[in-house]
Symmetry: C2
Subunit: 329 residues, 2 copies
Amino acid sequence: MSRKPVLTVTLNPALDVTYDVDEFVLGQTHRPRSMSVRAGGKGVNVARVLAGLGESVVASGLAGGATGRSIVDHLEQAGIPASFTWIEGESRRTVVIAERDRATGIWETGPVVTAAEWATFLDGFPALISTASVVVLSGSVPPGLPADAYAPLVQAAAANGVQVILDAEGPALHHGLAANPTLVKPNADELADAVGTEVDTPERALAAAHRLRAERPTVVVASLGHQGLVAATCRRDYVVTPPIRVPGNATGAGDALVAALARGLARGTAWPDMLADAVGVSGGAVAAPVAGESRIDIARHITDRAIVRAIEHDADQGSQCDHASCRNS
Amino acid sequence: MSRKPVLTVTLNPALDVTYDVDEFVLGQTHRPRSMSVRAGGKGVNVARVLAGLGESVVASGLAGGATGRSIVDHLEQAGIPASFTWIEGESRRTVVIAERDRATGIWETGPVVTAAEWATFLDGFPALISTASVVVLSGSVPPGLPADAYAPLVQAAAANGVQVILDAEGPALHHGLAANPTLVKPNADELADAVGTEVDTPERALAAAHRLRAERPTVVVASLGHQGLVAATCRRDYVVTPPIRVPGNATGAGDALVAALARGLARGTAWPDMLADAVGVSGGAVAAPVAGESRIDIARHITDRAIVRAIEHDADQGSQCDHASCRNS
């Protein structure tokens, strides 16, 4: 089955380094038992999950220095084509010191992007999206870029008839949303922050999602951790509940959920199936040891047993439905 | 003044990364206030101190991967010519998380060196030393190499009439010493370990140094921290005491001491002056914030005021004196 790839955009990718130590003691020097290195950052994690699911994907964004080179090398070793715009600054690392029951982290800030580098990326973006089925914009906007950096990317995708998922928070979400992406994927905290209300139940999450999409047809999928997700689409709302609570490491679960949504949009999967798949792939990521991976067996178990409740909109809400994603409604 | 450069050999160089954090808390994630990166490893530190003193130096050894590339880039940015043999493995990093009064470290092991890579280095070594005044062999022998890896380097230098300083410990010191280098520079612990006696005073250090050089004319300079150093040369012993105890960071003080010895051997400086210089440059390194640097003002203050006590050998000890370094005796 040949299909256009999903294109992920990661403006501030990372090289994720984990040192395994038996006991981490402040003030002492440690020789790690083992270390692991992988390409990271939210969009890169999405790309790695998609590749793990056997989907066609291209990873793009901004990368620089020896660390940027390592990020691209790790992606290519994982069989993921990388098409990053090269910047002068050095891409960031995240360093985690992992004991058996505790993880201590150091997050580098990442490089400052110049206006000229950003212009180079924007110039090349139409060519990148011309080969894509869906564009995924994930993570924070790096230092040096305007808060609305995602807006022209959303607009360029729309102009080329390519669907866009935006997974961001704060001003990046606010400004990106204004450009009307196909879908945004806040988690409960990000959604609460965006609308200024508490989001502690699926019902409140749906109410907040409706406020977020009040003036545009963007689909809002809010991830609610072990409670599953809610989605506000053009014609219906959905509340999707997983059958089990998966123990493990929630880091990267949201990125796995986005990967499943991207796959669903690319395939034109109907919303109920797409959302059940998203809850499953996200749960499979909780069961996997590191971000960017999802246990397929666990994902399938959850997807097959997820409870999907559909709630019809009032008739007047449907009037905004002019969006490509509504083919799936 | 044109002079042949000192050649440093670092078989297991490192990229030294320091993250500055206000408070490092186990189990939490930290965004460092600042970070600094520099080329490290004992021989690289020697090269950086020599360059800081305005001396001509070439840094060599084994390097690999993106980290090896960064090490070489940092050296070249510091104006230090680098001539490393490239290996398949990735060079190591040291990571230090620095709070105001505490440093917590993670030392990567470094790559395994293959027999073919080592053969390539050995093949190229005569060409490297042909341009050198003094060769400095510093630090641990990396995984994959024989414990006596330094021996053929010492022999090659001797065959080319180039003086050699060996700064190593354990089996690397033992086997390297057997090849009769010009000078070895153990610290008190390394010397104690090598001869199996306690080394807690200058007198005991000299006794241990005599045991170490019992069967060969290698000069032994033992660094004793704030107590200064002792040296056992062909005709005399020396006890060199600094006039002040410098507060600061002793990491890299031994490398600075070796740098001064290399400069002294290269210039043919008489032992008393060379050893006073070594104590000064070492003290200047304690006053400098990071390894590989020495405060010249403090170094000069100490050197000018160091107390150098010479002790004549018995006549029969002088009979072993057939060594190039004894020009300086």
